[in-house]
Symmetry: C2
Subunit: 288 residues, 2 copies
């Protein structure tokens, strides 16, 4: 047995250990669905099967597209918003773990060292979540089925820990680079952001910055900025506090007209229509 196997099987054998699944489902959220800001003591994993959505975790907006996955750690404030123009199907696992006091170094998924992690191209994670769902349904049939569930959970922990380790290594190597770029973009959203200038400020080529964006976030730099602006605009519109001219200016659009045009292009409706939309939540559909 290698150290990871040893640590995972010892965890499974530890009487203080337990995984308590609250939700495991594939679900379709209708276009424009919104789940307001909340926090819970469980880990929440959302894998995007189709469509686009966005989460805001501890004031950081995270665009999510097909094949990507977000892991929100316990106690982190988050909200969930589906694209206005089309529905979004996700595979979701919400679980809590009881753990011994000392958690081995290698099991990064239990360190909760960041508010959230985002991974791209997570087809394998999705299959694993589906297996967990299947074995969870049958866990009481016999010891073999319960073993399938418990070993699948160990596989989940190995997969998450591995991805988090890789992400941390990458993050270290780009420290002061992409991370810094993201921070600057977030803090200057109401200004006119110029990628060339931004990369010069950070002492890197704009080619490097664009590539780092595509690789880590899965969309281009300018798409990211527009998504952020639209998301922040939606937030501001939702709260009825500001008029449309103010919203346009706070989200970095040069004019209300330009703001309305881009907003409509991305959401299928004007800011005024969005604001006036009924806020009733449509019914969700569990997918099988």
């Amino acid at each position: 047995m290698n150290p990871v196997e040893k640590e995972l099987t010892e965890l499974l054998a530890d009487e203080r250990y337990g995984t308590f699944i609250q939700t495991i489902r594939k679900i379709r959220f209708p276009a424009n669905y919104r789940f307001d800001s909340h926090a819970h003591p469980q880990v929440e994993i959302n894998y995007i099967n189709s469509g686009c959505c966005m989460m805001e975790v501890e004031e950081r907006i995270v665009p999510l597209k097909r094949g990507s996955c977000i892991v929100v750690n316990p106690g982190q404030k988050h909200l969930f918003m589906v694209d206005v123009s089309k529905s979004c199907a996700i595979t979701q696992l919400i679980y809590r773990t009881a753990l011994p006091e000392k958690i081995p170094e290698s099991l990064t998924c239990f360190h909760y060292d960041r508010p959230f992690y985002v991974f791209q191209d997570c087809g394998e994670l999705c299959s694993l979540l589906e297996n967990i769902g299947r074995y969870y349904q049958r866990r009481q049939e016999d010891d073999y089925q319960e073993a399938q569930l418990d070993f699948s959970l160990l596989q989940l922990y190995a997969m998450l820990s591995r991805s988090m380790e890789k992400e941390r290594l990458q993050a270290d190597s780009r420290q002061g680079k992409l991370g810094e770029a993201l921070d600057r973009i977030h803090s200057r959203l109401e200004e006119d952001i110029n990628i060339e200038e931004l990369s010069r400020e950070l002492g890197m080529s704009s080619r490097y910055l664009r590539k780092a964006f595509e690789d880590s976030i899965g969309i281009s730099c300018s798409q990211y900025i527009t998504m952020l602006r639209i998301a922040r605009a939606k937030e501001l519109l939702w709260d009825w506090e500001k008029d449309i001219t103010q919203v346009a200016s706070l989200t970095g659009f040069n004019s209300p007209q330009y703001f309305c045009r881009i907003f409509k292009k991305h959401t299928g409706m004007t800011p005024a229509q969005y604001r006036n939309m009924k806020k009733e939540r449509p019914e969700l559909t569990e997918e099988t």
Copy 2:
């Protein structure tokens, strides 16, 4: 941890334990492919993705169709034959295990108590084999990936042991029933087998016998008898020892004409064409 989990993780921790994978692949065999009788010290698992094939294990002919799976235990003589009219894709795992002397009762897959097991509707087993293949390729990348491989193998052992346990229970409950019917069919293949008579002999209704066939073997009683006859006829034709009239009579067909008609219907060629066919083995294609 339940007893099955305890036994499997203890096995993984035992320094005498090891799983040595010889072959893990998805492969398409062309129509009429044949692998002659052989035996090896490994376990061989074949899952049928598409097409039809047949194995003969220790003189028992086993028809296999899409979704079914055969586990051939170590040292058992077996041959493999693909339907003459269409190709057959299988997912195959061949492995050997090093084990401690004492194997727990619950881990039936290491007891090797029968020459082989056949299971129907094994989609989940197939996914698991695919996972094993994927993790096997990456096992040397890091400890997390090796853990994925080793836990997938534990899942395989849990899944096989569970299916074997169920099969043994069913076999016990139908002892002297379907088992006896199969033995009688196999030993009388050259006679005219009448299902009504056979069930009367065994003191059961023909309805029960037909149902037991469908449930355990996955095809109807008369399909099974015809498949057996065709398989035995192929064997006899292959060996050039007997003429076609003799083959027809040894495989329970009333006349050589009727034999030729049914043989052609099932294989796409006449017995003479089959016999004269070149025996060169066509190339195999690995599927990805």
